[in-house]
């Protein structure tokens, strides 16, 4: 049996489901193959960690009391909101703005948000949409954090794909790169539009969707080049 076949048997090897006649050749190969050896160690680690997990997790005794108390606090907060001071009403937004600032400072991938702020300062631009479909500061916070996560994950997946590229046919690599370029162009176009119209919630959702598609395509390709 060669490496390619044995890769498909490693899970059964680790869980002890291979019969003796297959187990011997697989064990011999693992002893000589660094890639399969590492895969087996990884699988064993996952099994060991899974075995350490509790069969069930009981919530702490005070959980329900805390949940009930939190609901009551929310009810009171809603009731008191009518009389809240201007400063109180803006507190969530101030918190959101602080988180946005932290996210912006923590990543070089947030030119989008900086651009959107510049665009917002352009007095010739129509006022941002203030209807219910407009993006709130919280939406922008969520998106900025989400975008940073996407960019990190994309970098990891890109690194993985670069290492696996030799396993794919050249024409498939070319096709994959063309698809990723198509996605990147769409992301760039949507980002530029969002910079001009930062309150457009739909643009944010579309951009998130396109990022998700890019990650999904990269993840699927990475999985295709692995064993079963």
């Amino acid at each position: 049996m060669t490496h390619e076949v044995i890769r498909h048997l490693l899970d059964d090897y680790v869980t002890g489901e291979l019969t003796e006649d297959a187990r011997g050749p697989v064990a011999d190969h693992i002893a000589a193959c660094a890639i399969c050896g590492a895969e087996v160690e990884s699988l064993k680690g996952i099994l060991a960690r899974a075995a350490e997990l509790p069969k069930s997790v009981e919530p702490p005794a005070e959980a329900w009391a805390n949940i009930r108390a939190a609901i009551e606090r929310d009810k009171q907060a809603v009731g008191a909101d009518h009389g809240a001071t201007r400063r109180d009403r803006w507190r969530p937004y101030a918190l959101a703005a602080a988180i946005v600032l932290a996210a912006v400072l923590s990543s070089g991938g947030t030119a989008l948000y900086l651009n959107s702020r510049n665009a917002g300062a352009d007095s010739s631009r129509p006022a941002a949409n203030s209807d219910s479909s407009g993006a709130t500061p919280a939406t922008l916070v969520a998106f900025t954090i989400e975008e940073n996560t996407y960019l990190r994950n994309v970098a990891v997946l890109q690194d993985l794909l670069d290492r696996q590229e030799s396993l794919l046919a050249p024409e498939t690599v070319a096709q994959l790169k063309a698809s990723l370029r198509t996605i990147d162009e769409a992301i760039l176009e949507a980002r530029n539009a969002l910079a001009r119209d930062p309150a457009n919630k739909m643009l944010i959702e579309m951009l998130s969707g396109t990022y998700r598609q890019k990650m999904d395509l990269m993840r699927r390709t990475a999985e295709m080049t692995r064993g079963s």
Partner: protein, 286 residues
């Protein structure tokens, strides 16, 4: 596979050109097939047996093993850098859970009612029948589905997805490949592309939800006249053509694009269409 009862019996067939093997497999067992190049044709049948026939490249080997709950089969190429095509025709119990993975080999499945997980890089996936679950993924291969799987997911990057049938829960996704849906009743569907065109012609369940998203693909939605549905169509920079009712789209923000919100026949199915710049057409089924 995971079943403790699995017995693996590897039987390399050195320089064997033909494959003709059988193994018992429960009617609701599981089967995994890996064949990188060539074809994999799978038929469902009413026997608790897996039978495989086919041909291999010279020097290639075929492995098949398992027990009554699960079977695996692989083709091993003599030269992994230049694998030769292997043609496998497999008969499986109709309610089996089937998993097939290939690189450039095409996959053709018919008459399997259990769950299907099908993966190709650049081969074509063809499915005919009514599997209760169907997940088909390609990188640049086409996916063709004819039938009524209650749950279906199909993804490709540059390949085309063509679905003919009905489903209560369908989702299709491509980058530049076109998505064409033509069929019966849908309860819930989500179709998304980046630049690929979307063409949908079907019946909308009154309580269903239907999402269409693209960056720049053309969206063409055709439904029967008097279908009760609530539409929300938004385009950042593309035109909207409504041939379903007299409602006219209104200009989008900054004078670009368009928006259309309307209830047809009193409203019902929730239809959401979002595009960056692809043109959208709503029309009646011809």
């Amino acid at each position: 596979m995971g079943a403790a009862a699995i017995l693996f019996v590897a039987s390399p067939a050195v320089a064997q050109k033909k494959v003709d093997r059988k193994l018992p497999l429960g009617m609701e067992g599981a089967i995994r097939i890996v064949n990188m190049v060539g074809t994999v044709v799978v038929h469902g049948w009413n026997k608790d047996t897996v039978m495989v026939r086919g041909t291999l490249g010279v020097g290639d080997s075929f492995f098949m093993g398992g027990g009554y709950t699960g079977v695996k089969m692989f083709v091993e190429s003599a030269n992994e850098r230049d694998p030769k095509p292997a043609r496998l025709e497999v008969w499986v119990p109709a309610r089996v859970r089937l998993w097939v993975k290939t690189a450039t080999a095409s996959i053709d499945v018919s008459g399997v009612d259990g769950g299907l997980d099908l993966y190709v890089v650049s081969g074509t996936i063809d499915v005919t029948g009514n599997p209760h679950e169907l997940n088909a993924e390609a990188i640049d291969g086409d996916i063709h589905i004819t039938g009524s799987p209650p749950w279906v997911r199909a993804k490709s990057a540059s390949g085309t997805i063509i679905f003919r049938g009905a489903s209560s829960d369908a989702a299709f996704s491509t980058v530049s490949g076109a998505v064409k849906v033509d069929g019966g009743v849908f309860e819930r569907s989500k179709i998304e592309t980046v630049t690929g065109n979307i063409s949908f012609s079907g019946l909308l369940d009154r309580s269903g939800s239907f999402d269409f998203d693209t960056h720049s693909g053309i969206i063409d939605i055709a439904i029967p006249d008097k279908t009760p549905a609530s539409f929300s169509v938004v385009s950042i920079a593309g035109p909207i053509t409504n041939n379903l009712s007299r409602n006219s789209p209104i200009p989008g923000r900054f004078g670009r694009g368009a928006e259309l919100t309307m209830d047809a026949s009193g409203g019902g199915a929730k239809v959401s269409v979002r595009t960056f710049k692809g043109p959208v057409t709503l029309r009646r089924t011809k």
